[in-house]
């Protein structure tokens, strides 16, 4: 019988077990830290929304210009990116991720309701888009729609894009879906009180929001004019 170096095999087994266990432990620590960051971000947004609601109540009699930048689209966008990353790294069915997503959906709904109230009070046109998607792998158009809306939201901060996982089991979200009678024919967009089904390209969105297109064109023209001005030689004194 040859020497099998059994003691070395056992030691190697223990060392590898420790390495694997440490990898999982460290990885979990990082994941927990991320979840804590998201949770504190959600808490901050929640506080801000509460503050906005209070401010709204206090200023109910005040002029519309005071209601300018109370809402939280930028923070919600960062939060959405982080949640999307967590979904990819921990999995869409991870209970922590699902809970964070529910809370995020609730915050979006509250922000949306505040927006609606402000629009009614100030008689402005709705610039909010409620986007319902599925990430169960059955909706390739949802992926494309997500890219279009992300780009649209980045270009026009005044347009609020709220994204909801249609299949997320959450009473507030399901009420919103039932209220607007949104069918599982995804992607679906709720703009004002109108529900639109299927993929909408950027051009289609500009047809719905022509003012944003005009604004963008105006900005482009101004930019080009400024560029031309800067390229013209200046007179020497």
């Amino acid at each position: 019988m040859r020497n099998t170096y059994l003691q070395y095999h056992i030691t190697a087994l223990i060392i590898v077990f420790l390495i694997v266990a440490t990898s999982f432990f460290v990885s979990t620590l990082f994941a927990d830290k991320r979840i804590q960051e998201i949770r504190s971000m959600e808490d901050k947004i929640s506080m801000d929304i509460l503050s906005a609601e209070t401010q709204f109540a206090l200023l109910e009699m005040a002029a519309c210009e005071h209601l300018g930048d109370t809402f939280l689209s930028q923070e919600l966008r960062v939060l959405a990116q982080r949640l999307s990353f967590m979904e990819q790294s921990l999995g869409v069915e991870n209970p922590e991720v699902v809970n964070l997503k529910k809370y995020y959906s609730l915050l979006q709904i509250k922000d949306y309701l505040l927006m609606r109230q402000a629009q009614e009070k100030c008689d402005t046109k709705p610039l909010s888009i409620l986007y319902f998607y599925s990430n169960e792998g059955d909706c390739r158009d949802c992926i494309r729609q997500g890219h279009v809306l992300s780009q649209f939201g980045e270009l026009h901060e005044e347009a609020r894009v709220y994204a909801f996982d249609y299949h997320l089991s959450f009473p507030a979200l399901q009420t919103l879906i039932a209220l607007h009678e949104i069918e599982p024919n995804l992607p679906a967009l709720l703009i004002g009180d109108q529900v639109l089904y299927g993929y909408l390209a950027t051009e289609d969105l500009y047809k719905i929001f022509p003012d944003l297109l005009k604004k963008e064109e105006l900005e482009k023209e101004t930019e080009e004019a400024l560029k031309q001005d800067s390229e013209q030689p200046t007179d020497a004194f």
Binding site: Y8, H9, V26, T28, R144
Partner: protein, 417 residues
Amino acid sequence: MNTQSLEPLSIGILIILSIALYYQVFLLLVFLGRKPSPLTQKLSSASLPSVTIVIPCYNEESTIANCIASVLALTYPQEKLNIVVVDDGSQDGSIEALRNSTHQERVLVIQKENGGKYTALNIAIPNITTDIVGTLDADSFVHPEALIRMVEKFADPRVMAVTPALKIHNTKGFFGRLQQTEYTLAIFIRNVLASLDAIHVTPGPFSLFRKEVFNKIGLYKKAHDAEDLEFALRMQLHHMKIANAHNAYVYTVSPATIVSLFRQRLRWTLGFLHNMIDYLPSLFRLKYGNLGMFVLPSSLLALGASVLMIWHLGRGVVSIVDQQLLKFSAVGASLPSLSLPSSELFFYINTSPMIFLVLTAMALTVALILIGKNLSGNEPLRMGILYFLFLYGFIALTWYLSAAVRTLFMRKTIHWK
């Protein structure tokens, strides 16, 4: 605590990574824990055994003269060293090169019809009467001290064969540096495998055998163009000890292009796989020790794992391309945003257990290469380590996958010449 949800493929890759780590840690432990062999000793000139070195040659006109010159330059008593060159029906100028080489009176040349490397060796070996038989590839060159350092290992009467430390001759360029690092790692591995009695190749570039080995287990066999592997396996099955002299350097000409490298490695891999099929009964047998229980199964697993890895990688690449095409169809071409502040970037760093295991395996690989470098005489590896760590796996996958497909569906071999 959060647990990551792992799909079956990820679990498979996690297991493979753990086994790879286990292999590395085990080799490292054996290396650190072994005692130096007390039987390796300097031999006096009178006590040195007589040696015959057989050089099979087929179309090696560019290297044969230098190969013979390196043998003639060996530090070894002239009267105890015989050289036999067997020309295996070369069609180039090998014979002329042999005739023009200096000291041709010391070299016995045998010419025969082409029949493959093993036939060339087998025609010479039965007539050898020296204590030791050496086999040397015609495209390899030996260090002047290589023979004497290897012969010293025969002071241990249990040692039946000795393998050297293989180095590559041309270390320039991408493939040169890549292979230099690979060979440096192999020097470490072969050295530890010798301690485990688990060397399963007596390398063609240069190996020494006691003459009695051939008397006991026979000559070389046709073995899927991997006769040196089959012969070593046969020796191991007969419980014949194969030692390693890590300070006996032999330089071999390595492939300089991806095509020639692919062909060489495909031949090696196919040779390994087909011989494994032939020697299947020796696997997982306790009487064959670490060779049967650990080394050969691990090597087979490494091949199987490569197929799984390529599937995983391929799936990842297809998914990325698909996502980018979808994005392109939606919003056109756009570069990924790099405008995140550093605190945000930290959030998006991949910290999955897989990443930590890969990093640990890479760190261990570097450690083993550095030990091999120390064993082999501290030649600078420069960028070779980086090439090896980040690119070798992907390049090796091509011949692993090709060999697996050929073995499973075609059982085709690639001939050595």
